[in-house]
Symmetry: C2
């Protein structure tokens, strides 16, 4: 059983859809909370379920270093390991190799790097990143790409894009070869160059792989990257290399330059985005999936998202504030605790600050996405696409 995707309603470019995985259905557009080390920091899985989280993102790079992908595989894969029966997406590790690791050397074959934890040497290639993700057993795995830095010249962006395209073909080929034969899709078979009938002990039968579009901040490269990635053939398509420091207007321009060249019947995933305003904006542009550390990381720094804007709960003005964090929010934090209490927890460096702040921020993101989906289903008009998102 692979990935299913079905569009249920459209409004403008926006789509309300349903992703079907072996670990449940996901209403799209969807925001995926980040659970780096097989945990969304501070939040028990039962609370994530209560929040309505249908798919989590976990980071291959981090799990590869600790506790190790083979370790997770022996324990039944990521779902079993972390006791999360719903869907999981793993990134390829590429982004973290480029952003976190030390002394990395990028070659055609792959990337040599040193762990940010202990300086130990490692090597990730399109094949080994695919293997790692197959071992982790996420429902959706990502092709290993080079996340082009910003700024990059056109020549550098093209060269990097070409490398990502070559790596994408290697990922798709390796994934196809490693799948149990009966489960290989036509797309995967097309992508396969090596016809050897490798049969492996693999839990990949339900897994799907997404390709990643790169191309820096050059619209024509984005278009070319999209078209050629689609030619390789994947179960869904991600837009990568954005939200890496470029102006937000450029991000929007790149997304607009890419989506028309992605097949409408496949899910589209914009990586690493964004603020509450941004996730609304991109959902209305036809993006189906997003992830970002912002709600969870900001929560740990006392930055909370509410229906009336951002709040820095550490501010002294909240010390005596008996109101709920967000009177319009129905989450368990807003139903029970005052701003004064949340401020006290944060100011006292209490663990419960992380727990409650994260629960609320995730609730805000998930509610935001649910209301976008609802507005698409209703065919309501909004003017959010007429200008820049509020930030």
């Amino acid at each position: 059983m692979g990935l299913g995707f079905h569009i249920e309603a459209k409004r403008g470019a926006g789509r309300a859809g349903r992703l079907t995985t072996a670990h449940g259905e996901i209403a799209t557009p969807v925001f995926m909370p980040v659970g780096t080390l097989a945990t969304v920091k501070g939040v028990p899985q039962e609370t994530l379920e209560e929040l309505g989280v249908e798919i989590l993102l976990s980071n291959t790079y981090h799990l590869y270093l600790r506790p190790g992908v083979e370790h997770v595989r022996r324990l039944g894969g990521l779902h079993e390991f972390m006791s999360w029966p719903r869907a999981i997406l793993t990134d390829s590790g590429g982004f973290q190799v480029f952003s976190l690791s030390r002394l990395r050397k990028v070659r055609e074959e792959g990337v040599e790097f040193q762990s940010h934890l202990d300086g130990s040497s490692h090597f990730l290639s399109p094949e080994s990143a695919t293997e790692a993700q197959m071992a982790l057993g996420a429902d959706i795995i990502m092709a290993f790409d080079e996340c082009t830095e910003h700024p990059a010249t056109r020549e550098r962006a093209r060269a990097s894009m070409e490398m990502t395209l070559r790596w994408a073909r290697r990922c798709a080929g390796h994934f196809a070869r490693s799948r149990p034969l009966g489960e290989q899709t036509q797309i995967a078979r097309d992508a396969r160059k090596d016809k050897s009938r490798t049969t492996r002990d693999s839990n990949a039968s339900y897994q799907a792989m997404f390709g990643i579009v790169q191309g820096g901040t050059y619209p024509e490269l984005r278009r070319e990257s999209a078209e050629r990635t689609v030619k390789t053939g994947f179960d869904g398509y991600a837009i990568g290399g954005l939200s890496v420091g470029e102006p937000r207007e450029l991000t929007r321009e790149m997304v607009a330059a890419t989506t028309p060249h992605l097949p409408p019947e496949k899910p589209r995933y914009l990586m690493g985005v964004g603020t509450p305003e941004e996730i609304v904006y991109y959902a209305q542009m036809g993006i189906d999936m997003m992830d970002c550390v912002l709600p969870t990381r900001a929560a740990r720094h006392g930055l909370l998202f509410t229906s009336e804007g951002k709040i820095s709960i550490k501010n002294a003005c909240y010390a005596g504030d008996e109101e709920p964090l967000d009177a319009a929010c129905g989450c368990r934090v807003c139903r029970r605790y005052s701003r004064a209490y949340l401020r006290h927890l944060y100011a006292s460096n209490e663990v419960l600050a992380t727990v409650l702040n994260t629960v609320h921020n995730l609730a805000h993101y998930l509610d935001t996405m649910r209301s976008v989906r609802h507005s698409i289903e209703l065919g309501e008009f909004t003017n959010s696409l007429s200008g820049a998102p509020r930030t």
Copy 2:
């Protein structure tokens, strides 16, 4: 409405009772989790409710320094501030002044000390510690005592005990004078020396005060302290100054030397105790209430209590262990997560380790106390009193 206490069943010295407070009933013997800064570190109040916690302990010394008792009072008191509708007991701050603060000077009037947080100077007296606890609004507040250090000579222990007895009378007197007149009990009126009809804006109408027995490790001093504290008259009696480094056998001996001299119809609280084995032992000796940081603090260090003994979850032997932490435990942690996952969270320094470990340890303590209560209700014979508790 004050404190009610009713004994429902006895077995040997053990009592199964019911404490009635303005914030709910408490089945005794009871273990009170410690919520130092108006939070049990890492555990949301709704989870404490789910665990069946009926009474929490909070620390006056810590709340006095941060966020300040007047601050908490303005926000409606501790129950309202932390959104905890069930019962709360506050200690007097005495123990922390003696164990945490710097440069303390003990005088007849009270204790001058410097904050362990910022070195600022403070003064706590029997009267101001009582005021602080009245402002915090806990259901049960404690007389301000001097926690005699161990070891102490008989002379030192007697002098310290005499100071605690004088302070106890001042606390009881101040508490009685500060109560709304209609609510003053006979006991409190007896204790009152100053007959001035002070009426104050106070939320103390539902509050009860416990006296604290001291006397070091000298049985005859313990007896004298108990008798004279009872003469002052309180709503319940605590045994203090134990579990401060003395051998466990001596602790048991002191408890045995004290309880016969406490009125059987009043609740008895043994402060700062103990291991799961110890709480069983002392409940069987007729102690009704206990508190200890052990289950919560140990949890944060990866030390977990199970039906088969202690587990240090950091040990590598648990890395691949797919079993629940304690197959005999029905808590949400044991129902869902494996030892391997808990070990991973701890080894990765994840916040969720604190959350889940604390939930389990509290579940273990509360279950332990519930089963002791049950055995007292059933009048079952156990041989736990025939020897030392297992440690």
